[in-house]
């Protein structure tokens, strides 16, 4: 190319390569089988290097995504041709088989089939034989195109631990010949539940994890949302619970930027600037929650999304409908009787029934003593309730525990501020 052809630097779409990696891995796995996942990953890597080599000296192709897919497809066909050379068959037979294979591969690279392959990959990563940690890591690697160091950052782990998880998961899939497919019937429903759990975990890891840096956390939340949307666009995933989960993610993500101030201090819901909440995401959340309101199954995602919606749609903290929130928490507690739900419910209870009842509700949580000494959130919430009740000594004792336990610098700053005021 010559000078002047390219007046300004061109821009690639954000995360294009990650997303294309996910697509290529899924389609190539359809061709080579999940037992050849390493070959598949190498082929994807080669495709990117080829792109890098050609694109960097000149201009981008008009459709970079189509270009990458074409190179991956040709590479697949090429690998099969080479494989055929070792056959016992006649040249005529080889030519027949080759042309059949090429036709099928062309099919696999059609858009509708790409989506199908990606769904297969999501379902394979979420196979019930794998433990949840491995499911999450494998999904990030093979569906989302994250690298090992990026996964380690996102999951607040280290590279060798992530390598181990990926290795374990892949070995298990090979050893047990787990099929690369979308389950049917009752197995589909059961598998979808696992997929929801993995996407929910992924989102929360990004949303709540306090140790990793903001950029990767944002990426992980966005990725969980993208996969949930992908699921909702496919016939097998187009279910009320999928939309409920998607709406929950939208509501939570709408507050992503208002949780911290410029000094990296956590801002509580009560004090957040609601003008900073992302209206577009709140609208999307409402839309998806509406779509989710069909059928007779009320999932935890429906309830959690309805709770998030109540917060997002209240014009200010004072106008929050606490009574309705309490009802939602009561039903959530039936489906999900775990301490963190009890704790969150007590915060609502403080608004509806007064702080004394809220404190009693927290004290009723089984194993509270242990929880207080291990998870900062319990001491912080209970401490704050005691503060509201005027029991400053107990409040300070608990907030100091929370200060010690929280891994978050932001939360430490916030608690330090509170504790200083109490002295």
């Amino acid at each position: 190319m010559s000078a002047g052809d390219q007046p300004t630097p061109q821009q690639l779409v954000d995360h294009l390569f990650r997303h294309e990696a996910g697509k290529m891995i899924a389609v190539l796995t359809r061709v080579f089988g999940i037992h050849n996942i390493e070959l598949v990953e190498d082929t994807v890597q080669e495709t990117f290097l080829k792109a890098l080599e050609v694109w960097k000296y000149g201009r981008l192709p008009d459709n970079p995504s189509a270009w990458l897919m074409r190179v991956a497809r040709n590479r697949a066909i090429d690998l099969i041709r080479r494989q055929q050379k070792q056959t016992i068959l006649s040249a005529e037979m080889v030519s027949v088989l080759q042309s059949d294979a090429e036709q099928v591969i062309q099919q696999f690279f059609l858009d509708s089939e790409i989506a199908d392959s990606q769904l297969r990959m999501i379902f394979t990563c979420c196979h019930p034989d794998l433990n949840v940690e491995d499911q999450v890591a494998l999904t990030l690697k093979t569906v989302s195109g994250f690298g090992v160091q990026e996964i380690a950052k996102a999951l607040v782990s280290n590279e060798s631990a992530i390598q181990k998880r990926l290795h374990r998961a892949k070995a298990h899939i090979k050893k047990h010949s787990i099929r690369f497919e979308i389950p049917v019937g009752g197995a589909l429903q059961a598998r979808l539940e696992i997929v929801y759990t993995v996407l929910y975990l992924l989102f929360n890891e990004g949303y709540h994890s306090v140790k990793s840096d903001e950029l990767i956390r944002y990426d992980v939340c966005a990725e969980a949302m993208r996969l949930c949307k992908l699921l909702s666009e496919h016939a097998v995933g187009r279910q009320p619970s999928t939309f409920a989960l998607l709406s929950l993610m939208c509501f939570q993500a709408s507050r992503f930027d208002s949780r911290m101030d410029e000094n990296d201090t956590i801002i509580l819901l009560e004090h957040q600037d609601r003008n900073k909440w992302n209206r577009e995401l709140i609208q999307l959340g409402s839309h998806y929650l509406g779509t989710a309101a069909t059928g007779d199954h009320l999932s935890v995602y429906h309830l959690e999304s309805a709770i998030a919606a109540e917060h997002c749609l209240s014009p200010d903290f004072k106008s929050t409908n606490w009574q309705s929130l309490l009802q939602l928490y009561d039903r959530l507690l039936e489906l999900k009787p775990i301490p963190i739900v009890q704790l969150n419910r007590s915060i609502v209870l403080a608004q509806t029934n007064g702080v004394e009842q809220a404190i009693d509700a927290v004290l009723d949580i089984p194993g509270l003593h242990d929880l207080i000494n291990h998870h900062y959130i319990y001491s912080v919430v209970l401490g704050s309730l005691y503060e509201q009740a005027g029991n400053i000594a107990e409040a300070r004792r608990l907030l100091e525990i929370g200060y010690r336990l929280t891994p978050s610098l932001a939360e430490k700053k916030r608690l330090q501020g509170k504790i200083l005021l109490m002295k």
Binding site: Q6, Q11, L12, H15, L16, F17, R18, Y57, F146
Partner: protein, 116 residues
Amino acid sequence: MKDFMFIIRGQEAAQAKRTPEQTQGNMQKWMNWIGELSAKGQFVGGAPLSKEGKIVKGLKQVVTDGPFTEGKELLGGYLIIKANSMEEATKLTSGFPDFDIAFLEVREVIQMDMHQ
């Protein structure tokens, strides 16, 4: 303005073991660098070179596979850049995105004046 050749030597990008996101980041840096040079009218052209090739050597013109240079010195590609001086040309290398795996040799392309 004179022409300068940037000769790129070093490891292949495959050696860098980049993640898709990092590969994209690297690609974006290349496009920014070349794009800026183009915008200033200083980019003439360039191309990558395949690592496979032949060596033809000696009076008997013996052909062997090659170059098989040591990885760190492998010629990976070249760029032709317009600049007023060697000093300016050298400064233009600052946007080169691959200093982690490769290095640049900057050489002036000597203009032939046939009317001398």
